[in-house]
């Protein structure tokens, strides 16, 4: 899966990925983001995940999202999900993620 990470502002990280966020790719996705955050000069306080080109998310993907959310919380930072496709929104709702995340 293609993952691109881009710093913005002083402590922001913008992540865009394309394809399926599933058993095969979820771990890779999570590890890549964490590594990027650790490698940043500044501590990342604002994480934006662009879902516009994600076609599928499974529980493995949702698990990674929850992990990232917890990490950002711990750092007093924030996690935002951007442009979640309609067909994926149900999955977020199903597991109650809509209660703490803005899924649009």
């Amino acid at each position: 899966m293609e993952i691109s990470c881009k710093n913005f502002g002083i402590d922001g990280l913008y992540v865009k990925a394309a394809g399926r966020l599933d058993l095969d790719s979820a771990v890779e996705y999570g590890v890549k983001i964490k590594d990027t955050m650790e490698d940043s000069n500044e501590e990342i306080k604002e994480l934006i995940l662009d879902f516009s080109e994600i076609t599928f998310i499974s529980s493995f993907g949702l698990k990674v999202v929850l992990e990232l959310y917890k990490e950002m919380q711990a750092k007093q930072g924030s996690l935002k999900l951007k442009d979640i496709p309609e067909q994926l929104k149900n999955s977020f709702k199903m597991v109650g993620f809509d209660k703490f995340l803005d899924i649009g």
């Binding site: 058993l23 529980s59 959310y69 109650g96």
Partner: protein
Amino acid sequence: MFKTLKAKIIFTSIIMLTLLLSVFIFFAIQSRMFTKQLMVQNYRFSIDALFVDDINDSIMTLEDNLKSLALIGGLHYRTSRSDELTDEVVIRIFRNYPNTLGGGIWFIPYIFDKSKKYNCFYAYRNKNNKVVIDKNFASVEYDYPNQGWYKEIISRVTPKRNIVWSKPYFENQGSNTMMVTAGTGIYVHGKLVGIATVDWEMSSVIKNISKMKPHEMMFSMYKRGKKIENSFVLLGNADDDYIIATNDPYLDGDSLVGHSLKKIPWYSPDLYGKTYITYHGKKYIPFFSKLHNGMVLVICLPKREMFRNVDMFYFPFTALILLFIFMILALVYFGMNRYIINPIDKLIDIAHKISHGEDINIKISKPAEFVQLASTFDTMTKDIKAITKEREHINSELNIAKSIQASSLPSVFPPFPDRDEFDIYALMEPAKEVGGDFYDFYFIDDTHFMFLIADVSGKGVPAALFMMTVKTLINNLSQIGYEPADLIKLINKKICETNKQGLFVTMFSGIINVETGDLTYVNCGHNPPLIKTNSNEYKYLECESNIVLGAFEDFDFKIYKTKFDIGDTILLYTDGVTEATNHNDQMYGEDRLLEKVNKFHNDFVDAMALDIKNDVLKYTEKIERSDDLTLLIFKYKNKHNSTCKTIYKAPASKDNYKQFYQWLHKICENWKISDELTNKLDMCGEEIYANIAFYAYPQAQGDIRVSVKKEDNRIILKFEDDGIQYNPLKKPDPDIDLPPEQRPLGGLGIFMVKEMADDVQYEYSNNRNILTLTFNIV
């Protein structure tokens, strides 16, 4: 009767030796009889030569002597010579006859002088063998004219100068012996003037004869000069019937002298013709001779002693021959045992051992024929070993060929687990040889299923190779997509082209559209199949059998079409079933097969096929089947439009996940399933797949089997694994209302599955975890 060579040889030997023995005994008896006859003749000649002739000579000499005396007596009377002169002449005459004991001239009383009564000249041989004149007889005391012999002789003489023999009498004057006196008359001018006599002593005659010995020439094997004991003699006068002398040991010879011959018990007038007489329990051979003076002489010799030497020769000789024959028999027996029977036994033993696989060097040292036989045998054994080895090699190759052939037939049942439109089961029980039966079935496209059964003519390797060719050819051609009629025509054409050996194939083939049940079938010279339609009984399908494949290149086969309903079944078989024969040479037959299949009430094609096979095998039992036994049963179950099912099966691994979801997507696409439902299937599929891949097989690798089935307005997704037992549904649901900080990371997946699927069922059976998810198509 005589099965063994030994018995035959012994039997033949005994027969031959018995014949030989019989011939020998016959000739021996003949020869013995002949020898005895010869001996008897010899005895006769000897007796004649030695005794009878002697006695006759003596008698003749005696008579000569007598005639001389009579002549002198006559001269004395006529010339009135002096007595001294006549004495001298008588002495001289007697000197000329040395065997004469005594005798003389006796004149009739007073013939010369009325005062001189006695005128006689008697001479005898004294103890010194000197002839002297005894004048004592011319005395009143003796008075010779009154003596019996004088009276007897003078009364019987005649002028013809006959010789008269007196009866034997006992001479008591001088010698005290038994005498016979021969006498003749002295006639002068026809007037009887006196008599001349000569004395013959009998006892010496008898004594001489009793001392009889066999002559040297008599019989060469007879011991020379040995006296025959127990012989006896009779001398008598047969004409006047009186006994002169005998030394018969059972009689008193002296007292019988002068008596009738009837006093001798063994004597009879016809004695001359007899070969032997029995006297006091002993056998004697009488030798009868008539003497010159009319007396008879009978010499009796004991038969047994006479022939003792002959018997002594023949009995040991016979025994020796018998012994010899038995020795030959024994030699034949031992020789045969040693040189024929023993080597044969040895060869038999060796052949027996070799046939049991033992490795033996044959060692026979004699006789030459058996040495040669043994060497030939040895060579043969080696050849047989080589041939056997080669044959084993060929056999093992044939077995491999057989297994290759068998494995070329589809043998995994059910062959299409994802298709439940039909049940099919087929089997082939090969005969001992590789054969030419085969069956085959496959989809020629998504909906058309072809099945066939075929029997290649002939047996063995050619048939097997041809079968493989034909099978491949049919398979290849049927995939192209010809119409059935064209397809079968083409198959036939191609088979004709590839078949230069004149082999052919019988085949029954059907193509069924599993969606509609439309069945097209053709029979190429094959046995009519059994068919069951509309739940009726099985019956033989009536259809033209056309001709066999591979016979005529350009042939239009008659094709039949029918429609199968649910439950319709067709049973194909080869002649290995109906023509299987039992030990009574009776065939299994079509009627028995029909009866058998109609007894089935359940629908399990595999059970049915196996049961028929076992029935046929039981029928043939001890007989080795000459033909393959092949069966194929096809049962139509469902129509395609209501059901669709596909199966995924692969090792459960995270690495194979991509392959799995691509398969699932493809199905969804094919079945035109909405994106939403596809997404659901995708998510649930991933969750369950991951569960199995991560947890089901902690130790080793295992498979995951997923089937997806579209049924009316439902999609049924079924996961199966044979890993550790685990029911994911028992896992408690996560609390989705918890604040994010308190929420655990895991446990979302199965919760989502339960949320998304319309029904979730778990079961554990046959050591398998089975999870069935049902989704309604909205």
